[in-house]
């Protein structure tokens, strides 16, 4: 690293070595816990969960739609830079794309571990069902990941080429390989990349909104047997809460990586812009959720009313009031209310973290309550809280995501290289 720094400003990774060790220690603990829990899951089968035939979907499904949302949201933030060319957003383009890729990988891990027959995970690519939202979704996810990787490549390639030019040996091979042989650093090559980046983004936007996340909402909304999900607004709220969590995540990552990895100061204008986006999404998310709730309650459909009673007053109502209302809407809204706070990195990290945690509760409150009320009078009521195995595996898969993200952030030029021959 030292030899590089002497002639080239490319030093991704933690500034503070002690922080690096501490962070990796945390991540390794998460992954180790997850590995043990996964071992228990694999040997004990689905019986290691608290799922039943009454509540067949639980924590893993909630985390799956959470990470799909995080990914779709982060991706849509990236398009502000590379498709809509919003000024000053280019700085967070790659951060957002890379976070979107990792989130999607984590989401797929959650889908995988949730399957009763994990060994048959590839079956949806062999046999299909045109009327099944889930069948369409798995294909959309693959296409979406391909778009994300393509975009990250075109966004980052020129800097990979620059780094490869200035390093030697293994590092040169590594970065050279990532350019896929396109080592030119000329302006034409950059223009070519940007053109294709935009094109991929234009394909990606409808894919992310309507197929990947809207589609995941549709997956639930088509269940006529569950009136709580069975609404046209439901997939829309899905997309809005995805945008909310994705923007909050990108805002948090932007501050943390700029401070801890690049050792630079945060651009208060960019931070303010992201913060205002978060405000907008909170307002829309809360308003649409209120409309959805009102329609449900005004319908006086007993199943709807009872489900909302479970959400608001049931044994898990703390997750609704404290996490969904508190952490994802009210608390961040307070932090975002003052202009000076919106320009303060530490406050915005807190606001971002609050939303990112709060939306987890939003996802749980989507998945679980609809399964508590029996589909027919006379059938048993459901009750569900994840087992330690479910929590442990979830922690492990999130740990894998954090590990992959950190390794990427420590090696890839996620911050556009300033300086060098093109500046």
């Amino acid at each position: 690293m030292a030899t590089q720094r002497s002639h080239f400003e490319f030093d991704p990774g933690f500034e503070d070595n002690r922080l690096r060790v501490a962070w990796y220690a945390v991540v390794v603990v998460l992954v180790a816990v997850g590995a043990y829990a996964t071992y228990l899951r694999l040997t004990g089968g689905m019986a290691t969960t608290n799922l039943t035939s009454v509540v067949p979907w639980g924590a893993w499904v909630a985390f799956y739609i959470y990470f799909v949302g995080l990914s779709a949201g982060a991706f849509l933030v990236s398009t502000m830079a590379n498709v809509f060319e919003v000024e000053g957003m280019h700085r967070i383009d790659r951060d957002a794309l890379f976070a979107a890729i990792i989130s999607m990988a984590v989401a797929l891990l959650f889908v995988w571990i949730d399957l009763g027959r994990m060994d048959r995970m590839y079956f949806p690519f062999i046999w299909r069902q045109l009327t099944s939202a889930l069948s369409w979704e798995v294909h959309a996810y693959v296409a979406y990941i391909a778009i994300l990787v393509t975009e990250l490549y075109f966004s980052m390639r020129i800097d990979l080429a620059r780094v490869a030019d200035r390093t030697s040996g293994l590092r040169e091979t590594f970065y050279g390989a990532l350019t896929l042989g396109r080592r030119a650093t000329s302006e034409e090559s950059q223009a070519f990349d940007q053109r294709w980046l935009k094109r991929a983004g234009i394909v990606g936007i409808p894919l992310a909104i309507f197929m990947v996340h809207g589609g995941t909402g549709v997956l639930f909304a088509v269940s006529k047997a569950r009136p709580y999900w069975n609404s046209g607004l439901f997939p829309v709220i899905f997309v809005i809460s995805a945008l909310l969590s994705g923007t909050a995540l990108v805002m948090m990552i932007y501050v943390l990586r700029t401070r801890l990895f690049d050792g630079e100061s945060v651009d208060p204008d960019l931070l303010d812009r992201l913060a205002q986006l978060v405000i907008g999404f909170i307002v829309i998310d809360a308003a649409l959720t209120a409309i959805e709730t009102f329609i449900a309650i005004a319908s006086v459909h007993p199943h709807e009313i009872e489900t909302w009673q479970v959400i608001m007053y049931g044994p898990m109502s703390w997750s609704f009031w404290w996490f969904m209302i508190g952490f994802s809407w009210v608390f961040p809204m307070v932090l975002l209310s003052k202009k000076s706070w919106r320009r303060t990195p530490s406050v915005m990290v807190l606001a971002g973290l609050s939303v990112v945690i709060g939306i987890v509760a939003v996802r749980f409150n989507i998945v679980v309550p609809a399964q508590i009320m029996p589909v027919m009078e006379g059938l048993p009521h459901g009750s569900y809280f994840p087992t330690l195995v479910e929590w442990g595996t979830s922690a492990g898969m999130i740990g894998v995501g954090l590990l992959l993200y950190t390794l990427g952030a420590e090696t890839l030029p996620l911050t556009p290289i300033t300086g060098g021959d093109h500046e």
Binding site: V54, D114, R128, Q129, T131, S135
Partner: protein, 343 residues
């Protein structure tokens, strides 16, 4: 207690072995009389039967028997004899020597090879097979006759050998009103075998589908265990097999399984389907295929459950399903169940 012959126990007839043998002999039909009704040669039939008893007693060997009768049987029965596998010739359990087997007039091979071949022929023509019947199976449950005894649930569990947590049939018990004006309705709930099944609609791998006879099948070899159908079923009729067993209650609980949807999967083993799959009532397809009623229908103490062909207007179920008392569960869901109730 005294054990002399005179001292009989009350209620137990005092008969000796000779009496019993005489009773059996009395009941035994006369072979000549029986065989007179069929076209085949009576003398040959009686001779073959008597010698077959000798083979059974060990007085005559299988080889001698077949050498003695092969020609006569071929002459008497012709093609029917030559094209039918001889039960004495069998790959695993042959009772005659190879030389004798080869010298026999029936040259089609053992029972095993013939049954395999005929199965292949059926497969090639893609006719037949499970669920391909002409009937459209339907069930009608008379709620006025149902006493809520749950014996259908028990019969189902023992017929289909479902594990803990999986119960293809349940009886939903509803109590309405306040004491003393209370009514109780028992609504047995199998799989509705809907004409528009939401479970089939959502399965991402088409592992669950309608068969020609109207029964919704689950292909345990394809199901990935995502439980989307479990979520989508408006009747709560689908159950996930979490791999639990009745081992604490019954020794060797998993040794026998039911040949659901006509597939014999042998003993229940960890990691082997249907563990990790979704399961549900199949209208006892395996029983329907051999002409039997589903276990719940057969066992119902009040004769409340009826099974039959809904497309045959003369059938009991079609007429009952047409009556003014008939209704389906959640009719407004548009699922159009093939299970009807009589109110």
């Amino acid at each position: 207690m005294s054990t002399t012959d005179d001292d009989t126990l009350p209620g137990i007839p005092n008969v000796g072995k000779a009496d019993l043998d005489a009773m059996v002999e009395n009941e035994r039909p006369d072979p000549r009389e029986e065989l007179a009704d069929v076209e085949a040669d009576t003398d040959l039939g009686v001779a073959m039967a008597e010698d077959a008893q000798r083979v059974a007693r060990g007085e005559l060997s299988g080889d001698e028997y077949w050498e003695k009768y092969d020609e006569a049987a071929a002459a008497e029965f012709g093609e029917a004899y030559c094209e039918t596998p001889n039960p004495a010739v069998d790959a695993g359990d042959q009772t005659v020597t190879t030389e004798t087997a080869e010298s026999l007039s029936c040259a089609v091979g053992s029972m095993d090879t013939v049954s395999t071949e005929s199965a292949q022929i059926e497969g090639d023509e893609s006719a037949g097979g499970i669920g391909a019947g002409d009937e459209k199976w339907g069930m009608v449950i008379d709620l006025q006759k149902c006493v809520g005894c749950d014996s259908c649930t028990v019969a189902c569990k023992s017929e289909n050998r479902t594990p803990p947590g999986v119960s293809y049939n349940v009886v939903m018990e509803e109590e309405h009103g306040e004491f003393p004006n209370v009514t109780r309705t028992n609504v047995p709930r199998p799989c509705m075998q809907c004409d528009n099944p939401p479970c089939v609609q959502v399965c991402p791998v088409s592992a669950t589908y309608k068969m020609d006879d109207g029964v919704v099948n689950i292909d345990y070899d394809r199901c990935i265990g995502c439980r989307y159908c479990n979520i989508a079923c408006p009747y709560g009729a689908r159950y996930f097999d979490f791999g639990e067993n009745y081992d604490d209650e019954v020794d060797g609980a998993g040794e026998l399984t039911s040949p659901e949807y006509g597939v014999d999967r042998g003993s229940r083993e960890e990691g082997k389907s249907p563990i990790g799959n979704i399961r549900k009532c199949s209208f006892c397809t395996h029983r329907l295929e051999r002409g039997e009623e589903p276990a719940c229908v057969e066992t119902c103490v009040g004769d409340a459950r009826n099974m039959g062909d809904l497309e045959n207007p003369d059938s009991d179920v079609a007429q009952m399903a047409d009556s003014s008392r008939a209704f389906q569960l959640k009719e407004d869901e548009g699922t159009d169940p093939n299970v009807y109730y009589l109110k």
